[in-house]
Subunit: 138 residues, 2 copies
């Protein structure tokens, strides 16, 4: 897995800019998923809000990051595995959100289980979010 931000950006045919390098670096060295606000803060408000929005959008399109929906309507973003490419994400892992500290983790080792749906419903993608208490907050 590539960990050098320059290589990742080039591999995805993106020009290498300060904002993209900083934000991607943030994802790589971050423990859990990041909300938009986290990114603004953790980059020291060095970049415009709009730039952060556009960077996240471009990373999404290239399959570099994926979103995690939360019940409080605040989307978190996390790195994809290597095999996610533009448009098609293959992250079928469970997500965990800690009720205490808010840490949002990709449980890469836990795959979303299959379910049988009633007739008439054709499933395409499935997502599972578990809330509870994380290791650090026990």
């Amino acid at each position: 897995m590539l960990t050098d931000v320059n290589d990742i950006l080039k591999k995805n045919q993106l020009s290498v800019t300060d904002s993209r390098k900083s934000i991607l670096d943030l994802f790589i060295h971050s423990n859990g998923a990041l909300a938009h606000a986290d990114i603004e803060k953790q980059t020291g408000e060095k970049f415009d809000r709009v730039t952060v929005y556009r960077t996240l959008q471009v990373f999404m399109e290239k399959g570099i990051i994926h979103t995690i929906p939360t019940s409080d309507n605040s989307i978190r973003y996390a790195l994809c595995k290597d095999d996610c490419t533009g448009g098609h994400h293959h992250d079928n892992h469970v997500h965990f959100i800690c009720k205490i500290c808010g840490l949002t983790s990709c449980l890469d080792s836990v795959t979303v289980p299959e379910v049988r749906l009633p007739v008439g419903f054709r499933p395409l993608e499935k997502q599972m979010i578990v809330t509870g208490i994380c290791e650090g907050c026990q």
Copy 2:
């Protein structure tokens, strides 16, 4: 299951007002889950935005409705089963979102399956959202 709006409101110790009656009625006679905007439109903009927000909030607190998180950051609301009371919801069913028409359904007959989490993660609630194509859109 109570279907008369007056009875439901009284059972939950809520005063019976026009907005609460209309909005609750909307939920009872609606096929899928409703977004905030749907409610504003479908009540003919008869009530103030703020009233809709407060009504949904109060219905949530009383366990009359529950939320369904979506990846596009737009919360949907749907009726709870009878045994959901203030603070404690028991809707552990799968939710289905149609990619074509957007219909969001509570699959009351499909329970969210169990998963084994890595050590350190203590689960409290779990949620599963399946996206795909609904009966009407096949």
